[in-house]
């Protein structure tokens, strides 16, 4: 029993054992999703609030389903038209919600570190659903789960993450997670979208797609985040698609049993060709189904967790004790 954390704020610092325990637990919850009654009473009496300060449909719905399938009660909070627009601080928003006896908070926020801030100021459990460009741990966990179910093992796999790495919290969480379980990661993208010195975290970096795809067992395609890019990072969508789009001919460079993942939503014909998004190599829809199971596992495990490791920002980067 390795996973004792009270919060899930990121994958940085999680041990291989902790991650595998989440994946193993998710397997049981995945079974629940195939039953006629897709529900277990494990979180009965618990209340969760989905605090989404950034727009999201898929992640929020995924968490909502996970909470309902665990028999928890839930409330959704989106910042549009709420007290936040009247100038309320994050801390006050949450303290008010906590006063209503909500013990699980799932938060998505544009500021990196917002979940950590929350965890320091409330008594409840916090799950990071995406903070700035920092981490999106449940996405990475469901990616790892999907890969493991398909490929049977994670250690030694060659994973290429392609696209806008600079703005991607999904890439960062996956990098931490894949390293922890022993996979080899290559980050591949234009120099304008690659964070400086990211190779120091332990990935191979390359700026030529063909080089990055060679021999890859898994290709994780990132979305070109048009809504975040204001500063001329790519000349045009067409040029990006021509140079960096994953097509069938480029996929031929990968390992013969290569599989494709994408966190969604897909820009068809831009970062990934249509036939690949829907083809036999694509695990994209599996990711969505597995996402509910993985989020159920996370909520189930942190609910009884007591270890506060990872909350103090100054401690990040060092090994965090369970």
């Amino acid at each position: 029993m390795s996973f004792r954390r009270k919060h899930l704020l990121g994958l940085e610092g999680l041990s291989r054992e902790e991650i595998l325990e989440v994946l193993d637990t998710a397997r049981s919850f995945r079974q629940v999703l195939d039953r006629p009654i897709k529900r277990v009473p494990s979180l009965q009496g618990a209340t969760a609030v989905n605090l989404f300060f950034e727009p999201s449909t898929r992640t929020r719905v995924s968490f909502e389903l996970a909470e309902k399938r665990l028999s928890a009660d839930l409330v959704n909070f989106s910042s549009v038209g709420s007290s936040v627009s009247k100038g309320e601080t994050l801390r006050d928003t949450v303290r008010n919600i906590e006063a209503m006896r909500v013990e699980l908070v799932v938060i998505r926020h544009s500021a990196s570190g917002a979940p950590h801030f929350l965890a320091r100021h409330i008594d409840g459990h916090v799950v990071n659903a995406g903070d700035g460009a920092h981490e999106h741990p449940t996405q990475a966990l469901l990616d790892l789960y999907t890969i493991r179910e398909e490929m049977a093992q994670l250690a030694g796999l060659k994973v290429a993450i392609v696209g806008d790495i600079a703005h991607s919290r999904v890439a960062r969480s996956n990098l931490w997670g894949l390293k922890a379980v022993g996979a080899e990661v290559t980050l591949c993208g234009p120099t304008t979208l690659m964070p400086v010195e990211i190779e120091r975290i332990g990935a191979r970096v390359c700026h030529r797609l063909e080089e990055g795809l060679e021999g890859a067992d898994i290709v994780m395609v990132l979305r070109l985040q048009l809504e975040r890019m204001q500063g001329g990072f790519v000349p045009s969508l067409r040029e990006y698609a021509a140079t960096w789009g994953i097509t069938r001919s480029r996929l031929a460079l990968c390992a013969p049993d290569v599989r494709i993942l994408h966190p969604g939503p897909i820009n068809r014909g831009v970062e990934i060709a249509n036939d690949l998004a829907d083809g036999p190599e694509s695990l994209i829809l599996d990711q969505v189904t597995n996402g509910v199971a993985v989020r159920m596992a996370v909520l189930y495990l942190i609910r009884s967790g007591t270890a506060d490791g990872g909350v103090a920002i100054e401690a990040s980067g060092e090994g965090q004790s369970a």
């Binding site: 029993m1 996973f3 004792r4 193993d24 637990t25 397997r27 049981s28 919850f29 079974q31 629940v32 039953r35 006629p36 009654i37 529900r39 277990v40 009473p41 494990s42 979180l43 009496g45 618990a46 189930y300 495990l301 609910r303 009884s304 967790g305 007591t306």
Partner: protein, 200 residues
């Protein structure tokens, strides 16, 4: 598998490492008990057409195997057997920390209309069986649910009773009942020993 007092923290030592306790049922006794349970099941349901066994993971699995084998011999056809993990249905998830490990549930049949016999090794407070009932109901509506246990050690906390019992063993709450079955432990026996007294 040990079933320590639910109010006390679980002992850390593996019971198989401790000095052997008092044997309450030896290999021959277990053999006779499972044979008798199989006979009693068929007495109530002679056709056994709709009969299925569901072992409560993990203690019930080897017992279900023994009973299932005897049933197959007696009625001439295999009896479908499944395994049910009740961890997610426990009534103490809010209070115990960390959560126990969740195992797999495999029910390779439809429970609708079946005579479903739950099988476990030891019946104690009855909370495990209550959780199992909740779990089974989420799969469908059996015609009947019955309960077979190898050992009934008393101290029920809920109004639950077994239909088929291998042996009634009165115990004190500070005692542990451990079931050793050849599959896992190399020998068949049921032993009682005292738990170490807890630090105040």
């Amino acid at each position: 598998m040990t079933h320590p007092d639910p109010k006390a923290p679980a002992p850390i030592t593996d019971p198989r490492d401790r000095a052997p306790g008092r044997v309450v049922l030896d290999a021959a006794g277990i053999e006779r008990a499972t044979t008798r349970i199989a006979h009693e099941i068929l007495e109530r349901d002679p056709d056994a057409d709709d009969l299925v066994l569901v072992a409560i993971v993990r203690g019930g699995e080897p017992v279900a195997k023994l009973v299932g084998a005897k049933l197959a011999e007696l009625c001439g056809h295999p009896v479908p057997t499944g395994a049910l993990d009740i961890t997610l249905y426990r009534d103490d998830l809010r209070t115990i920390s960390p959560h126990p490990i969740v195992h797999s549930t495999e029910l390779p049949f439809d429970v609708e209309g079946r005579v479903l016999v739950l099988v476990d090794d030891v019946l104690y407070t009855g909370r495990t069986v209550r959780a199992a009932l909740g779990a089974i109901m989420d799969y469908g509506r059996p015609r009947a649910i019955q309960l077979a246990v190898l050992v009934d050690r008393g101290h029920r906390e809920l109004p639950i009773r077994a239909d088929y019992v291998g042996k009634n063993v009165p115990t004190a709450q500070r005692e542990n009942v451990t079931v050793f079955l050849r599959e896992e432990d190399g020998e068949d026996s049921i032993q009682i020993d005292e738990m170490e007294p807890e630090e105040p």
